[in-house]
Amino acid sequence: MATLQSLDIRRRSASTEVPPQVRKASVEVAKLIDVSKCIGCKACQAACLAWNDLVQPVGYFDGNYDNPVDLTPTSWTVMKFTEIEKGDDLEWLIRKDGCMHCDDPGCLKACPAPGAIVQYTNGIVDFVSENCIGCGYCVKGCPFDVPRISRVDRKAYKCTLCSDRVAVGQAPACAKACPTQAIYFGSKDDMIVHAEKRIADLKSRGYQKAGLYNPPGVGGTHVMYVLHHADKPSLYAGLPDDPKISPMVGFWKGAMKPISLAVIAFAGVFGFLHYITKGPNEVSDADERKGDELAGGQTNSRGRS
């Protein structure tokens, strides 16, 4: 997406400038995906392609209903189907995969291009494509394996949470298109209240482990799931049980940056101080005489080459 929107920015990648803060903080939004109500029709996928002017090239059949098989630079949401057999019982878990819009986004932390990734005050994490340099650091920063680099323009793409629609008071295209209302959109507080009702309902139907997926390891997310098996999120096509920004990314993008520059600057300063205190190491006339003596007046037989 572009930044020509009426949304204020809370965080901006690779930037030290203080973001604008005068306007009253907007309400934090969230998308709530009720996995238990999803029928796997893929209307959300179609709506996403339509609204965002995307065309997913024809792929290949991988033996299940996932189409395409995984997120791509043009498919920012994909239904992931998981079959779980328990004796004679078959449970079909369908999860709408896509960007989770973390409150502490690993992609934004990893991004080296100023303003290529922004987080709006309403919580949406957005890629600003014209600033993207295609390095793929966001892929390494993301705990959910969401961003995809296009082979066409070497830029990163992912779900925008329809930031352009949200900016003008509309719900995301996927939520609008869902025929079973498995996708809700509203303020994050409202979504949590609604999720609690859904979870109580699921528990009353025998899903004792039903719960809300709003992982604290990434500060909570602005896309949340109601799961019937909230004790094991990884059942749902590998949804991380306890997602966190990798400590390697934390070190690389945290302590290492200032320490490295300080050490390099120190080395330069040390050299300068050494030169002005100890002075240059010069060859004395005595050394030259000794050198001539050793060479014994002979010219260098090899000459210059």
Partner: protein, 209 residues
Amino acid sequence: MSEDKNAVARYTTAARINHWITAVSLILLALSGMALFHPSLFFLTNLFGGGQMTRAVHPWIGVVLAISFTGLFIRFFTLNFWTRDDTVWMKNLGKVINNQEEGLPELGKYNAGQKLVFWGQSILILLLLGSGLILWDVYFEDYTSIDQKRLAAVVHALAAIGAILIWIVHVYAAIWVKGTLRAMTRGTVTRGWSWKHHRKWFRQEVGKP
């Protein structure tokens, strides 16, 4: 350039060209790499035609460096094996830094500091090449997992900082020890310089070991 009959040949023209290709590519790599390492240095991408161009061109300069440094390695590795004299020299590093080299062992073509620069850069450039290929998504995205790429990013950054520090030592030594730089610009050094800094090598050069 005038022929100086008293000069001692230290580097051939080919070795000097090899060195300067390595030097220029290392500096360009440091500038483009630092641009993507720290946000406050992102402005350095302007030297390379913007962020996208920097991202695209950095790995190719790395290929030039890897090939060029391999040339230097093949030329010089036999001269950089560690000896007992090097250990003695290192124990007296404090004296060396204070410009008091009297009484230290006579040295061959390289002193222990130069050897450490050589081996340090050899190891770090190997690490940079390996981790750099893992991070070169345009061609090698599909060969490694995301966790392996994360590790490669950390290794690449740490190795680069190490290489830059060694580069600072290398450049400063050439500024500090007068008469050294001409070995890489003109290919020769003076007899006095050879006597003072690399006497054992000098004896071999004049055939009086």
